[in-house]
């Protein structure tokens, strides 16, 4: 039986994770994500899973990577300063193809910035924050329902593509309370085990190798050094390094159609909003208030890999308008895929873009 709750976004995130079979949480408290850890601390032991408060966020992500190698569905949750501390081990997870789930309830940065205020300032950091070339998957919820559903989906994506997956929420969505309909169950797509006798880092057509879980007799060596298909260090082999890094990126970029999750509204419109996370709410308000204006809307739930093909659905577009709680981080990504102007509607300070601000942008001369 589905049931209805009135929940905070962070509650929905923790509950969505538990519904998805998450059985290991390692983290460190930080506003505005702390509720996720607190709920996990209370509920995880009852479900037979592990909750551990680590000594810092570096240890938090390290612990979930270690747990993942034993087959656990593992996650951590943090915000800006903690997210910055995690960067080295995020690269390690990407390089070693470790499935794991990282929640970033974004707050105003840089530095300690605005602990209790919302922002979307980590959208480039999540994609490029660790050294070297790699790829990740990032999802952006715009309401409490999506905090639940996207969290659950993140675990499936992590297992399917063997990659760190990020729920890039923001303080506004994390702390808002609204109605949520809890489904009976969330579909779980298990990790594909490595076929015994196959090299542990040799991938097939989908570029994702099977998973050699610790304790199952694979005898796998896992290293963040450039490694060959056996998993052995081969850090000075130029061809091997290039092939490995290209595979790590291609396995995600090639799958972007399958990973993508977005809504296209009014594809014939000339003015089209693009939004993800909390600003989606403002766009929805403006569309509701101005049914006469024929506004187009590309509403993104997956932000990385960026679904650039969705932009081409708007055949008559004269300009894209992109509200973000940053100085235009994703607008820059849109710009490199389109020929029409991209108006970046930027908001810093912690408050949500207002409908008035969006209407003003709509009415500005083309």
């Amino acid at each position: 039986m589905t049931r209805i709750e009135f929940w905070q976004g962070n509650t929905a995130c923790a509950e969505g994770a538990l519904a998805a079979g998450c059985n290991f949480f390692g983290g460190y408290p930080i506003t505005p994500s702390t509720e996720v850890a607190e709920i996990m601390a209370a509920k995880m032991p009852k479900k037979g899973g592990v909750f551990i408060q680590m000594e810092d966020e570096i240890a938090g992500i390290a612990s979930i990577i270690g747990a993942s190698w034993t087959g656990a569905r593992s996650m951590t949750a943090t915000s800006g300063p903690g997210f910055s501390l995690m960067m080295e081990n995020i690269g390690y997870a990407a390089m070693t193809e470790t499935p794991c789930m990282i929640v970033n309830v974004q707050r105003g940065g840089p530095s300690t910035g605005q602990p209790t205020m919302g922002a979307q300032g980590d959208m480039m950091q999540v994609r490029f924050g660790s050294q070297g070339d790699y790829a990740i998957i990032a999802l952006c919820p715009a309401n409490v329902q999506e905090m639940y559903e996207l969290t659950a989906r993140a675990f499936n994506l992590a297992d399917q593509y063997r990659v760190p997956v990020f729920l890039m929420a923001d303080e506004i969505v994390g702390h808002m309370r609204e109605k949520i309909i809890i489904p009976d169950s969330m579909p779980q797509i298990p990790r594909r085990p490595l076929v015994k006798g196959t090299l542990p880092f040799k991938a097939g057509a989908d570029l994702v190798p099977g998973f050699p879980q610790f304790g199952k007799g694979y005898g796998v060596h896992v290293t963040g050094l450039t490694h060959d298909e056996r998993g052995y260090p081969a850090a000075t082999n130029p061809q091997l390094h290039e092939a490995l890094v290209r595979r790590l990126v291609d396995k995600i970029e090639n799958a972007r159609h399958a990973i993508a999750d977005f809504d296209i509204i009014n594809p014939d419109a000339e003015q089209v909003f693009i939004a993800y996370g909390a600003p989606v709410r403002t766009v929805q308000q403006v569309m509701h208030d101005h049914p006469d204006k024929n506004i187009g809307f590309l509403r993104l739930r997956t932000v990385w890999p960026f679904p650039e093909f969705a932009l081409r659905e708007f055949k008559n577009v004269k300009r894209f308008l992109m509200p973000e709680l940053n100085l235009g981080q994703m607008a820059r990504e849109v710009e490199r895929h389109v020929r029409v102007p991209v108006v970046s509607i930027q908001k810093l300070g912690g408050e949500l873009t207002t409908p008035t601000e969006l209407v003003a942008a709509l009415e500005a001369p083309l």
Partner: protein, 262 residues
Amino acid sequence: MSFDDWYRQDRLPHIYCAGCGNGTIINCTLAAVDQMGWKKDDTVFVSGIGCSSRAPGYIVTDSLHTTHGRAIAFATGVKLANPDLHVIVFTGDGDLAAIGGNHFIHGCRRNIDLTVVCMNNQIYGMTGGQGSPTTPKGCLSSTTPAGCAEMPFDLCELAIAAGANYVSRWTSYHVKELEKAVKVGLETPGFSFIEALVQCPTAFGRRNKFRQVADHVEYLRAHSLLKAKSDRLLAEGKPIPEDMFVVGELARRNRPALGVKP
């Protein structure tokens, strides 16, 4: 079976320099593991970054070669998620006590059921010989060209103060004692810490007047003070010479531990 069976034959030759002490420590550790009668499938080696941390790559079991300083944090996740696995950490003095110092003390405080073997060459070997938190005062390194001005950490004292259940120190000279100490560490529930002082001819010995590998090993032997002897000196109110280090079993207790198989 012997320790030899635990090596990944297809990964040889290894990267260690001729005369490096790390191989001795890995042999002793594997000999102790072998005596435990554990299955290879249930044993996991975890390490950070450094010459010492390369050890798991040469062992046939599942292994996680992680990031610099973080091995204990990764190992904590492995052990808590699956307490059936026996988890052993290889680390170096820089990895454990500099960048990884916080994870070390918290691993001891939690008393998590890991066995941590630190190959302490008192230098950053892998990066070519910079000073580490255990470089003795006055010793030369590429970043202490006038002699190290800082006081070193006593890793064992640190582990004891932070709460580890089992702590012992030996050197690459004391192979039998070391093997036994690792075995006790493996048997003891909770956090077991074994420090092994090792020679590093390339990065340490060369700069600090050990012309031969054997000179350095002899130095380690001659400056080892057995725990019983040091206790006697202390009881008699006599000082422990500053250039000596105490070897032997330094702590063995039964504080509540984390991650022990139920």
